[in-house]
Amino acid sequence: MKPFEEQFTAWVDGKLSGPELTAFEKQLAQHPEASADRAAAKTVGTLLRENSTAPKLENADFFNLQIQQRIAVDRPREQLREKASSGFWSWPRLFVAGAACLLVAGALFQMLIPTGASVNEEDQSPYFAQVVESWTSEPGVWANTVYNPKDNVTVLWLDGLDYIPASYQLK
């Protein structure tokens, strides 16, 4: 069964008939103000239909043309606004900048980070003799460290020592 409000609206609009109308009018006996409400609703409906506030378009084509021209004028402004909001970082520029960053990172990696090959080269050369510091007490005698990475040999080179004749017994 329909709710009372729905039946009431249908009754105001004159859409109830037959047994449905009879049953509803029995319910209306408990609502004596219903007839007055129905009359008021009909009056308002008639008034609204006869006195519409919407202006009547006398030249509809001209009106449409004006609307289209205004849309056309507003469109470039919107496009400009979109460009201004996207700024310097457009998609192609972002792509180029990203590629450049990757290139720089790759170059730095190659230059600064020792690769497995170079580390292995060092490991293959177990020679390690390092002169940290050296000094002589005699004037005219110098001590220099000679390290030849190619030969992998470290020599503490003493210069200015006196010549020893072969007659000197080394043992």
């Binding site: 390690f128 002169v131 940290v132 005698v141 503490l156 004749p165 072969a166 043992k171």
Partner: protein, 148 residues
Amino acid sequence: MLIRPALFTAFALGIAASARAEDKIWTAVVLATNAASPKETPKELRASLPKLKRVFGYNQFEVIGSATDKIEDKSELKLMPTQSFWMQAKARRSTSKEARGGYLLSLQLFNEKRQLVDTEARLAPGSPLFIRGPEYGKGQIVFALMIE
């Protein structure tokens, strides 16, 4: 729970320390000369011979005298490859990775009572350090040190 791993670690370290205590240092006084038919190079210098030839410019290397001494951390050594040329050294275990468990030596080289040079050097096992000494006769005296 932690007692067993701690004991094991201490035991392993003890074994390692006792093994390392067997390190030795070989020192030699070498006479480098040029000879028409060079003598056979001593085995201790054989691996370094091509380098020695290039660096010193001689083709014959004879060991005049050598000494092998036990070396360990914080040891003080008197190394006497010959009576006339000898060395005094204080050894500390090197902590640098390159030295591979070698030593940092504070070394003085003497010719009789005269000190020729005072130096600090890090030596990895099997990596000889050479010291170019005075010219002798028609050759050159070279000192060699190596941790074995």
